[in-house]
């Protein structure tokens, strides 16, 4: 089996970003962007190479990291959106902007390690590294608005890090290890459950689950749209994958008979489900009232976090070996859809920010007359977000809800479906403004952004049709 060293990709990213860091004082920012984009592109291709040459059992492990098939699968998403958000932010006339192109590869490296960690120490370090770079990214380019977003993000991020650390220490006390996979036993069940709760809350901040979501709206709205496209997708999916890595190991413990989740802690189960339901409803219902499209997208990203966290309700179903694969694949399809549609939508917002036009519905009206391709592509991305077939967003929800029904959680799937129906209103309202309201002011458009968004739209349709074929997952058990 042809394999590559799992550290090769981070090293490539590091080298390219260091080269661009060194070159900042000497060359034009376009060249720096090109260099770091090439680095990201190479690691994107390498991840694809690994995926196409291995099957789902691919596994490389040491005491800190598990590099699996799924690590590479998710890393494809990170590099994909990283690449596009780099290219999208090319028309800003600000000297500090060069650091943006250096920081994105750094954050991608950290995300790569964060999703492959099997040890809480390496997990925490790489998660913090990823977070720190994104705090800085949120403040780029330096404006009052973005700095506010960045500061909010940083303060909440610091709080969540504290909670995560507390959770890690409880975890250590209760299990005598920091490893996630080789747990010798649990000596204090109460502390163990408490630590899991702490970790859930800590990473839940990053995923912007309901009671911990407030930073997300201000940050996604305040930060530059391209930055939001990275923050709301890659960094969220990182948190989601970390949470799956952690929590589905309770499954493993259960599988080995260390403790019985069904009888000992229904509490966790109900908390997960309650938070998921609240997140969905909160995100969707508040999004109904937004007149600013970017803010609406921020709220809808909270609603999507709700859909993502539905996965945790599957914790209580056994049959570990095949099951964890299903969970990862479901998560991946949903994340793929999410990256393309949400990342693409935020990049579409960049088209307005670039010309300092606010992204209210009124400003978007008549977009189809001024730039039909942008309007069409953005509409397709919105259809995808609303879950209208045959787009990728439908397939993501299809497999997610189907897995829930299969596991006898049909009532939970119905709640998800109701939310999906609510969301149709605010997504289609944007389409309405774009297509049949008279334009109120001048709309310019950026060719490159148009092509990027068109690519995303085409991908969301083609992949939407081919997803069952690619993953051959007609049967989910």
């Amino acid at each position: 089996m042809p394999n590559i060293n799992p550290y090769l990709e981070p090293i490539i990213l590091l080298v390219f970003s260091l080269i661009s860091l060194i070159l900042i004082p000497f060359v034009n920012k376009k060249i720096i962007m090109a260099i770091s984009s090439i680095g990201i592109f190479i690691s994107f291709i390498l991840s694809l190479y690994v995926i196409f040459n291995n099957d789902k059992s691919f596994y490389l492990s040491n005491s800190f990291f598990n590099f699996t098939y799924y690590t590479y699968l998710f890393f494809i998403l990170f590099t994909f959106i990283g690449l596009f958000s780099e290219i999208s932010l090319r028309n800003v006339n600000n000297k500090d902007i060069s650091i943006y192109y250096v920081l994105i590869p750094f954050s991608l490296i950290s995300m790569y390690f964060a999703i492959s960690s099997n040890n809480l120490i390496s997990l925490f370090v790489s998660f913090e590294a990823a977070s720190l770079t994104t705090y800085v990214l949120a403040g780029i380019p330096k404006e009052k608005r973005t700095l506010e977003a960045s500061l909010k993000y940083f303060v909440i991020g610091a709080l969540s890090s504290g909670i995560i650390l507390l959770g890690i220490s409880y975890y250590y006390i209760s299990t005598n290890t920091l490893s996630l996979y080789n747990v010798p036993g649990i000596n204090n069940l109460f502390l163990y459950i408490l630590s899991l709760l702490m970790l859930f809350v800590g990473f839940g901040f990053k995923l912007s689950l309901f009671p911990f979501h407030n930073w997300a709206i201000d940050t996604y709205t305040g930060a530059r749209a391209t930055v939001s496209s990275l923050l709301s997708t890659a960094s969220k999916i990182m948190a989601l994958v970390i949470m799956i890595n952690i929590f589905f190991n309770i499954q493993l413990l259960n599988f080995h008979g260390y403790f019985d989740i069904k009888t000992t802690n229904d509490l966790l189960y109900y908390i997960f489900i309650a938070i998921s339901i609240l997140t969905m409803f909160y995100g969707n219902i508040t999004a109904l009232m937004q007149r600013d499209v970017k803010r609406m997208l921020a709220y809808s990203s909270i609603a999507n976090a709700g859909y993502m966290s539905m996965i945790f309700s599957l914790l209580y179903y056994l049959n570990y070996k095949t099951f964890i694969n299903t969970v990862y694949i479901i998560t991946f399809i949903f994340s793929l859809a999410y990256v393309i549609m949400k990342g693409g939508s935020f990049i579409a917002m960049e088209n307005f920010e670039e010309y300092s036009i606010s992204t209210t519905l009124d400003n978007l009206s008549g977009l189809s007359k001024k730039s039909p391709i942008l309007a069409l592509s953005f509409s397709i991305l919105l259809f995808s977000l609303a879950g209208i077939p045959p787009t990728l967003g439908f397939m993501g929800k299809f497999y997610l809800f189907y897995t829930l029904v299969v596991n006898n959680l049909w009532w939970f799937a119905i709640i998800g479906v109701i939310n999906s129906a609510i969301s149709v209103y605010y997504y289609f309202r944007v389409v309405m403004y774009m297509y049949w309201k008279e334009p109120k002011n001048e709309i310019k458009n950026d060719r490159v952004l148009e092509i990027i968004i068109l690519t995303m739209a085409i991908l969301s349709i083609i992949l939407g049709i081919l997803v069952p074929y690619i993953f051959n997952i007609g049967v989910i058990k």
Binding site: F383, I388, P389, P390, F394, F398, F401, Y402, V405, V406, W410, A413, I414, V417, I418, S420, A421, V424, Y425, F428, R429, V431, M432, Y435, W436, I465, L466, P468, Y469, F471, N472, I473, G474, V475, I476, K477
Partner: protein, 489 residues
Amino acid sequence: MDDILIYLIFAFPLLFTIIPLFTKKYAKLISTVFSGLFLLFILYIFIIKYDKTSIYTLFSLSNGISFDVIINYLTLPLLLLVALVIFIAISYQDKNIENSYFSYVFLLEFSLIGVFLSYNLVFFYVFWELVLIPAYFMLGRWGGPRKDYTSLKFLIYTHVGSVFMLISIFIIGFYNNSNFSYSVLSNVKNIPSPLIPIVLLGFFLAFFIKLPSFPFHTWAPDVYVESPTTSSMIFSGLLSKMGAFGIFGIFINKNGIGSLLPTWVGVLLIILGITSIVYSALVALAQKDLKRLVAYASIGHMGFITLSAGVFLYISPLSQYLNGIKLILTGGMFMIFAHGIIIPILFGSVGSVERSTGTRSMNDLGGITKMMPNLAFIMVGGFLASLGLPGFAGFISEFSVVIGSWIVLQYWSFILIFGMVVVASYHIWALQKTLFGPYNNYLGKISDMLLNELWPMLLLLIIAFIIGIYPYPIYHLFYNYSNILIGGA
């Protein structure tokens, strides 16, 4: 050879979707020609596949999710209806409309054919939802003054119905090894009993909202009224048929979901059906807007479909009424076809009145026969066909349903007859207020129906008349399908 034809059924509309965008001012002409050729093509398929049942697999995506297509007694007439109504609507449309309108129409045609022909629940759902997108644009971009409100109302109403169907499809798929083919509908019995109400409710909501039946009908008048004329023809003539198709194709099939339905659902459907007929007739009496009146007429016709499904569910355990059951089922299904060709005439003539006089309000009209003799001919023909006059297609189905439902309704039939009398009276009343009587001089000099409006309507009227006196080609297919519905071969 056969396979290629089936591929082409899907490939042509999809291809036509793109073409109008690249034609400058000839979009209408080219679209008319294409839809006409497509109609001939479908007619050819209708003839060679007549009275046959065949299933094709076009491609397979994964285990249990493959694009299967079925041509049978039910889908074949529907296929013909789609091609016919789209052709008529495009011919009727005047050419001063943006090119993209025709793209949306062809995309709608593509998705409708997908809905009717799919033999896989996942693809059925995908096409079912895909219909919403072109419909949303056709309504919203070219609609009337209240288009924003109406388009979102339409979208949310029908989308809510269909998402519940998705859950039902999931449950069916899960208990059949993740196989989503229609063929698994015959073993729905292995669904555990607590889940059965959810499965049934999902399908019920999806189909009866789309139909639209009585309590879920409120989106329909708004949508039909606010749409441009040709969109109204397509929405009332074809979109509502999705619900009818779902009812006869999936919901009441005794080999499938129908076997789970308790008898009281039959009673419920009978009540909903009769209420639809009577209620819509009474509401139509109060209308001042001619188009809204026609919209309620359309809802009333759909009541016959609900009624026939209800009567079937109620009496199907009693096998001694086999002929009556077949009669009422065939009548209900025949309504799909009859309504599909009659209601576009009504919307078309109302559209011509509106274009010519600038108003749809019946109080402002009157005596326009003098100025618009051709319109008067079409409109009288259409309205008489709509009220169920013998000699037109609508009569065949209404007669079959009323006769067939006597077994169940007995003297309660008088409510139904009362409703039909009201239907007839508001049709005549509307004709009298608009066409006859003294000419309203306030209207000034108005022009008659344009040629592009006249001949499609005339064609439909002739078809409605021919089918009214010689219904056999269509009736025979539906009659055969009723054998399948009652669980026979």
